[in-house]
């Protein structure tokens, strides 16, 4: 272990930091005129960072080879799987931003820079193999995210969302930090490796408390029930491109982080956290599904849908097997694509004055005025509901498969039965789009970048997506193996 190799392993993070700082200087000098340019440069920076992390995934790197800075950081195939998703999702939410903010009256050059720093923080989170790296990454991401949520100053709901997110996020960070300190006290180290070896056999009450607090903190970040309350408000209040960002990248980062903490750091105590995960997973599925039914705002609906989907992903975690971890990664990838499709479609819904249409009732009969848009939105809804032959089914399928393989048949049965409740509100959206008489509220067209993203994600979630299952599954397995190899 030397500095040179460590620095080489974190090349992507270094590049993103430098790129972020340079772009910050650009927007300081050139002002908001340069916003579009900065956006494209930020997307390019994310692409370069993606290229830098990709070899670790395709080469299946893990263990000591990937470990940097004396075990504080791992650039293994697992982290690069998550990072590719994060960079991709962050890139998309940058691409859709200029159009939206310009209609809202002014796109600010800080937006892409903040998103870049958030992506950097998320990269740290998924690579963290030490509680302190974890915390630094988490806070780096969160601080950028609080500002992003409050970005739209002309809309009252946006600062409110930012404040709510900040207060609850800080509370969660505090709880997490408390859990970390307890764990440190009982394990004698903040390193995941050391915690892993220290916590074997029967858990002491103190370390159990530490584990519970850490899980509570992380549940806030992944918006799992009962720590989900901020999600609908923040999703609704934040500007839609930011919501797109929140629904995708931080979700990946927080879930990947949760996986590393539970499966690796607390890997020898699976029995202790499994029951917690089972409980919050079922609660998330049910509350997410029931909560969504009454929603009249499509962004709030998507928020509940994300809570619901996180519940399904946690079923894969509850399995506590490499197969379960791989299935979560597959689900996450599909979920990111579905969310992008859904939010890009929502971004394209505008009324005659160019304002965003968010009320579900205003979408009535969209299939007549905008058949393409309605078709993609309906596909996303069926896909989120997990109805074959759409690709969303595959995510649920692999997760339930791993749960059944791990012997969690009752959990899988209850979970899948609850998914029928969820299907109801997705169907409701399709009903509004296709069955109702047109409200003709939505006008305006889908422009270039949006169209590419919209139809691109539609192709992935169409049955064509199944052709990728072998490839995606292979990558997810190699990534999950890295997580378990160290253990």
């Amino acid at each position: 272990m030397n500095w040179a190799s460590s620095l080489r392993l974190v090349a992507a993070e270094e590049f993103l930091s430098v790129a972020g700082l340079v772009l910050l200087l650009v927007c300081a000098w050139a002002g908001d005129k340069s916003a579009r340019l900065v956006t494209w440069l930020a997307v390019a920076a994310l692409a370069v960072a993606g290229v830098l992390v990709a070899p670790a995934l395709f080469g299946g790197v893990f263990g000591a080879e990937a470990s940097a800075f004396y075990g504080q950081y791992a650039a293994d195939s697992f982290s690069s799987f998550a990072k590719l998703l994060i960079y991709g999702a962050a890139g998309v939410s940058l691409l859709v931003a200029p159009g939206f903010f310009e209609r809202q009256g002014g796109y600010r050059a800080e937006y892409p820079v903040l998103a870049l720093f958030a992506a950097l923080g998320m990269g740290l989170m998924v690579s963290a193999t030490d509680m302190l790296t974890l915390y630094v990454g988490l806070e780096m991401n969160s601080l950028a995210a609080y500002v992003l949520a409050a970005m739209s100053r002309s809309d009252d709901r946006s600062p409110e969302a930012g404040l709510k997110y900040f207060v609850l996020g800080s509370l969660a960070s505090g709880i997490l930090l408390f859990g970390i300190s307890l764990t440190y006290g009982f394990a004698g180290s903040t390193s995941f490796d050391a915690i892993h070896t220290a916590l074997v056999g029967k858990m002491s009450t103190g370390s159990l408390f530490g584990l519970v607090f850490i899980l509570v903190g992380l549940s806030f970040k992944i918006s799992a029930v009962p720590f989900h309350m901020w999600t609908p408000d923040v999703y609704e209040g934040a500007p839609t491109p930011v919501t797109t960002f929140f629904a995708t990248a931080p979700k990946v980062a927080a879930l990947a982080l949760t996986m590393r903490v539970t499966l690796f750091a607390f890997g020898m105590q699976a029995a202790a956290w499994q029951q917690i995960i089972v409980a919050i997973s079922l609660l998330s599925i049910v509350v997410g599904a029931l909560g969504a039914i009454g929603q009249g705002n499509i962004k709030r609906l998507m928020a509940y849908s994300s809570i619901n989907n996180v519940g399904f992903m946690l079923i894969g975690l509850a399995a506590a097997t490499p197969g379960g971890a791989a299935s979560m990664l597959v689900y996450l990838s599909i979920y990111v694509v579905m969310s992008i499709g859904g939010f890009v479609a929502i971004l394209s819904l505008r009324d005659a004055e160019g304002n965003s249409v968010e009320k579900i009732a205003d979408l009535a009969g969209l299939s007549r005025s905008k058949p393409g848009l309605a078709f993609v939105l309906a596909m996303v809804m069926f896909s989120l509901a997990g109805i074959p032959p759409l690709f969303g089914f595959w995510g649920k399928f692999v997760v339930f498969q791993s749960a059944v393989a791990a012997g969690l048949v009752p959990l899988a049965t209850v979970g899948i039965a609850a998914s029928v409740i969820g299907a109801f509100y997705y169907l409701k959206v399709v009903k509004v789009l296709y069955f109702d008489e047109p409200a003709d509220k939505v006008v305006g067209s889908v422009d270039g970048v949006h169209a590419v993203l919209l139809y691109g994600s539609a192709i992935v979630i169409s049955p064509i997506g199944y052709l990728f299952t072998g490839w995606l599954g292979g990558l997810a397995q190699s990534a999950a193996a890295a997580l378990f190899h160290a253990a």
Binding site: S367, R368, F382, I387, P388, P389, F393, F397, V398, F400, Q401, V404, A405, V409, A412, T413, I416, A417, S419, V420, A423, F424, L427, V430, K431, Y434, F435, Y466, L467, T469, G470, L472, G473, G474
Partner: protein
Amino acid sequence: MTGFPILSLMLAVPAVAAVAALFASAGAARTIALVATLIDLALGLDLWANYQIGGPQWQFVEHAQLFSGFSWALGIDGIALVLIVLSVFLMPICIGASWDAIEKRVPEYMAAFLFMETLMIGVFAAQDLFLFYILFEAGLIPMYLIIGIWGGADRIYASYKFFLYTLLGSVLMLIAMLWIVNLTGTTSIPVLMEYNFPVQAQYLLWLAFFASFAVKMPMWPVHTWLPDAHVQAPTAGSVILAGVLLKMGGYGFIRFSLPFFPEASAYFAPLVWGLSIVAVVYTSLVALVQSDMKKLIAYSSVAHMAIVTLGLFAFNRQGLEGSMVVMLAHGLVSGALFLCVGVIYDRLHTREINRYGGIAINMPHYALFFMFFTMASVGLPATANFVGEFLSLQGIYKASSWTALIAGTGIILGAAYMLYLYRRVAFGEQKNADAAAMPDLTAREYLLLTPLVIATLWMGIYPESFIAPIRADIAHLDARLAAARPAGDAQVTPGHPVAETHESAEHSGEGSEK
């Protein structure tokens, strides 16, 4: 057998046509749909002609490892063959029935139907458990849209009910499938059909599969989605629902429940019998009091499907063959009845029986066709239903004579409600002027109904054409079920020679006289 992938082609033709129709104008979409379904019909007939009776159990097999976890495995046996032929036969008729009746959003309608056809053929041809599941459940989406967009006044409720009912049934089956694959390590249906599952595990698995197929079939008491869906669906939607989608339930029983879990099937057979005889009697009585024509036929479907489940769970060849024939016959006859209702619905836009009356006077040709299918539904000899119902009841009689006795009343009740319907619609006074002014069948309607008449008569007079392909597969299934078969209550026992007892009685009689 490796050869030309005809099954994949049959799946691809409507799928490609569906996409094409989506982007076409209304007129072009109709033509595309008709051409695609006719091509599939031709391919289906080719499949039938080239199917080797007495050949290998699985023919036209295709296998490609395209996905992780499951594969693109297709192949058919006789049972799948006849159901595929039924599907491709009904599809052009459905498109024809929608030619003028559907005026709004034609491209989407045709695309939904073509997509549906791909899925139906796929369900019957799939040889991989998960491929089957995906295609089986995917059918919900087009059907939901067909009912919801082009349906009647109460369509939204009906579409939700249809979707959620069937979804809840099938997700439990998915868990059971995952468990099976986890246990056996294979997703191949032919392999699993020969696999001996531990008896203890069979019960829960059977129930999970039952949940799905019973809803699909539909069996009493989970049949309530069917009348709603049928009434609200457009004519062609009802035809396809009754003609093919209900058969997926029966196909599921014969392909999965019985061969996978023979012991559990035998254990639960009395449950199936019980539900079925309730269905036969109860839904027939309900049908008797309907004032809505489509609802009446929908309830009669439930009753007919109950005869199918009785035959399937009779655990003998007559029962199994009979229920296959009932499924085919019901596909033709109830499809035709829905078409008949569609014909007069298109003219008067009401399904109320009371709004009609005496239409035999102004629509004599129509009345003839309607009469024919009414009789076919009742099960008149020389029509398809007679063969199937007779065999099914014979089969169930061997297993349980009481069940057969009660189920037999369904035939009588069937005659009652169908003839009553016919009398009210076709005979009597012409009390409504607008009904009396309806014109007779058009050339298009002739063209739709005539093939159904021919097929119904063919199946009734020479059922061998349809039974021959399935015979070997039924025998195979029967052999697999033999060990688990419940003892029937009507066993044939050798009697004592009559002459001897007579003689001895005479002797003793003579002795006492003396």
